[in-house]
């Protein structure tokens, strides 16, 4: 077991234990939509239950966030709750694993929340996880995609750690004179009439960050009448890149859909670029939704 050089504040678990966490979660459940608890409702819950603050509410909601977790390979259930830096909304997420394909498609709870925040056009001010002890892969994702210079990680054990403490001297986009991912910036791309209007609209609106490959890609998934989209979000460290099929799956699960209900998918990307999202998208879809047709289109 790795050595923990950080101190936890014992007052946090003591304070959390004073409240009926289950009652808090029951009261929060009907207020959560698409994995998000609006700021006003969060403040109201803090007030109503006399909680120590929004950070304590985030810790109480970790169990709720676990409902978004789907880890059939590891059985290691992770819930994560982020505090949107711009809105103050609480953003819930869980980890996802996909049997029958590569482990490279795995989504971590921390990544799920970072993607959701990015899809909403904001970063994270705070992130609660079961233990403020993310893997290094997540430390890279949070550094790049969570608007994270000031991100604080908290947990019910009483840790309150800056990302800088957990990942000193980060290898970040600035090192290559890149500005990094900025939430809320549109990509301005459109696909032509080869796809249904709803699909075209979703493809053009989903956030994309692809400065390293120069291949902006987006995927729309149809599942149980629902339509969701996700774009590629590239890491300066390359491997922690989130593929459009991963970010679209995050949107699908956050919005209450099931990957196994996927009935169709549309992928938009340029032709002949430095990366090709076709094969990994097909591979992951074949594993989770065999038979769902994938239509590949190009940006106009």
């Amino acid at each position: 077991m790795s050595r923990n050089p950080f101190q936890a504040d014992p007052q946090v678990p003591a304070r959390l234990a004073c409240h009926d966490a289950e009652a808090v979660r029951d009261a929060a459940a009907p207020l959560i939509e698409a994995g998000v608890l609006p700021r006003a409702d969060a403040l109201d819950l803090v007030d109503r239950f006399g909680l120590g603050g929004v950070s304590d509410l985030m810790c109480h909601l970790l169990e709720t966030a676990k409902g978004l977790s789907r880890p059939p390979i590891s059985g290691f259930v992770v819930g994560a709750v982020g505090l949107g830096a711009a809105t103050g909304d609480l953003i819930l997420g869980g980890n996802m694993e996909f049997p029958g394909t590569s482990l490279h498609h795995t989504l971590h709870g921390e990544g799920f929340v970072a993607i959701r925040a990015f899809q909403r056009g904001e970063g994270l001010a705070e992130l609660a996880i079961g233990e403020a002890h993310p893997c290094a892969h997540c430390r890279q994702v949070l550094t790049e995609f969570a608007g994270a210079d000031d991100l604080i990680l908290i947990d019910p054990l009483g840790h309150r750690l800056s990302l800088a403490e957990l990942y000193p001297w980060p290898f970040d986009p600035g090192y290559l004179d890149q500005p990094g991912a900025v939430a809320g910036v549109g990509h301005g791309l459109q696909v032509a009439g080869e796809v249904p209007d709803t699909v075209a609209r979703l493809l053009s609106r989903t956030p994309i960050h692809a400065p390293y490959s120069g291949v902006p890609a987006a995927l729309v998934l149809e599942a149980g009448g629902r339509m969701v989209a996700g774009g590629s979000i590239e890491s300066v460290a390359f491997n922690p890149t989130l593929a459009p099929v991963q970010t679209a799956l995050v949107a699908l699960v956050a919005e209450g859909g099931a990957p196994s209900d996927i009935s169709a998918a549309w992928l938009a990307q340029p032709e002949g670029g430095a990366v090709d999202h076709g094969p990994p998208t097909k591979s992951l879809l074949a594993a989770i939704a065999p038979g769902a047709p994938l239509t590949e289109v190009r940006w106009r």
Copy 2:
């Protein structure tokens, strides 16, 4: 640009500048075989050129290691030189990128050296890179696959940092009560007579670490008359996992082969497991060696 909280010793660059680095590299070149400079030769070079020690030699050889780098997407050339913990040999590596497939296949210089050490049955005592500032993805790989409790990262700027300083409170296999990757342990698997004898022998001998998926996989590549093998090396954090096609490519390039010369490949894995290395292997091979047939076989 990220803040560097660490100090560098200015005596290191001053000392390195006192020697004719090019003469050192020219003398080392003919002694390097399959990306490895044997310990005796390294000590001899230190002596012959009056270097400050093996660490200084490692810094001088970073330029040589860049010869193993193939970064057609980023153009970001990285060389890395490891000190084998068991042998004292110097192990060279570079980063590799593969256009036309997913960025998830990217190999970092640090990972290249860690894989080579693992393939040789040893960990790393020291790792020299251009700046002791690996991305977080690499910090995870080094923590798990380089036998790395005591790993020291050095650079020509004079940094000398423990991995624990760069990645405090690591999420490691011990956290899940797993022993982690141990170099030099055989997998004991054999494939039946469906493949040439050389291929069967290489598949059975290549190191594998697959405790999380339970899917031990190995790949043999034939390229320009050369045959090399690589096994899957799984990370407890899942995504930093090294697929057999990645580790086999490391072996190929280290031994002087070219990915574009690949003429055939054989993949061994169990049937119906939690992961399937078939599609990502095909995808990467299609991008770098279109036309090379992939034969999939099962362990006996």
